[in-house]
Symmetry: C2
Subunit: 175 residues, 2 copies
Amino acid sequence: MAAEPATADAVEDALVDDPLLADDRITAVGLLFEASALVARELEHGLVDRAGLTSPWWEVLIRLGRTPGHRLRMSELAHAMASITPSGLTRLVDRMEEAGLVERQTCAEDRRGAFAALTPAGQAQLLAALPDHLADIDRVLVGVLSSRDLAALERCLRLVRDRLQAPVGEADAGH
Amino acid sequence: MAAEPATADAVEDALVDDPLLADDRITAVGLLFEASALVARELEHGLVDRAGLTSPWWEVLIRLGRTPGHRLRMSELAHAMASITPSGLTRLVDRMEEAGLVERQTCAEDRRGAFAALTPAGQAQLLAALPDHLADIDRVLVGVLSSRDLAALERCLRLVRDRLQAPVGEADAGH
DNA sequence: AGTGAATAGTTGTAAGCGCAAGTATATAGG
DNA sequence: CCTATATACTTGCGCTTACAACTATTCACT
């Protein structure tokens, strides 16, 4: 590849005229990412300031809190959290365990596995931070839309998620 | 706060019954984050595998490519990119400059400032990666929805974004 | 039972990011 | 003109993350 920057004027014009750069699809993903990032930033600031909890910590607390028994296999938790890998989850649970919010429990049926379980302290943190967090969600997302719009948004997002989240054991042309 | 983990059974029941944990608002943000993260992961893998470009690199290329003149002030770029801070942008542009995809240009009107500008190599990378990327967007987002649903989704996301993105110089109760 | 492949989870290593503090320039007020 | 404050960007530092390689256990097949 030629590495020398030459006069760029000719190329610039070609670029501006390229119809692909104006494609609506770019706008569509851009909107999804921007809205998500802005909401995430807003909510995280609230959680950090009021409860000292970052987004990943909060997501672990919420997912365990909403699960009967308040515990999940590490692999289930890792799969459910789209924004982290198994490796990242190991250290995340390390830190949360050190902070006393969750604990690891051995799995009797599969001795390779481990559960992450909410501790009483973790449950207390979760319940303490929840009301203000819900109010924030209202302020930045739910309250911005009519209930009809919100329902439509959720339906669309669910379609997208389900397309990408559950490609396990599904139809796969060949075999 | 008592730090000793006791038998957690009593607390667990209280938690399960807490109506706040079942609140629909949690589901709503959860869907937004999951859909966004899954789409982001999918698109990033495509970009990395085919073009060696990570998401932040791609976003810089796209934003510069879609700007007349193919350059933006560092501060404008940082503000537009919801998922990075000015500090992060400095190093991101450092690396992209080292890779030859962008270059810094001094700003005549404000000598504190700097432009980030696309190089010919950056423009070439952008155009080379674009067709496959658009196809990926189709596969994971646009093609999943009817055109009516897509329009509704975009409208909702725009409402959310505009609420959070432009709180500059707007109404602010007191003064 | 016994061997090979798959799965659950963890760890070494390196890269990327944000916060807070620093430097340089611009702007406002006396 | 001169000082004080604000803005644009960068840098020191520590934390978090992903990728790839590793260990332990289970499953499939003979």
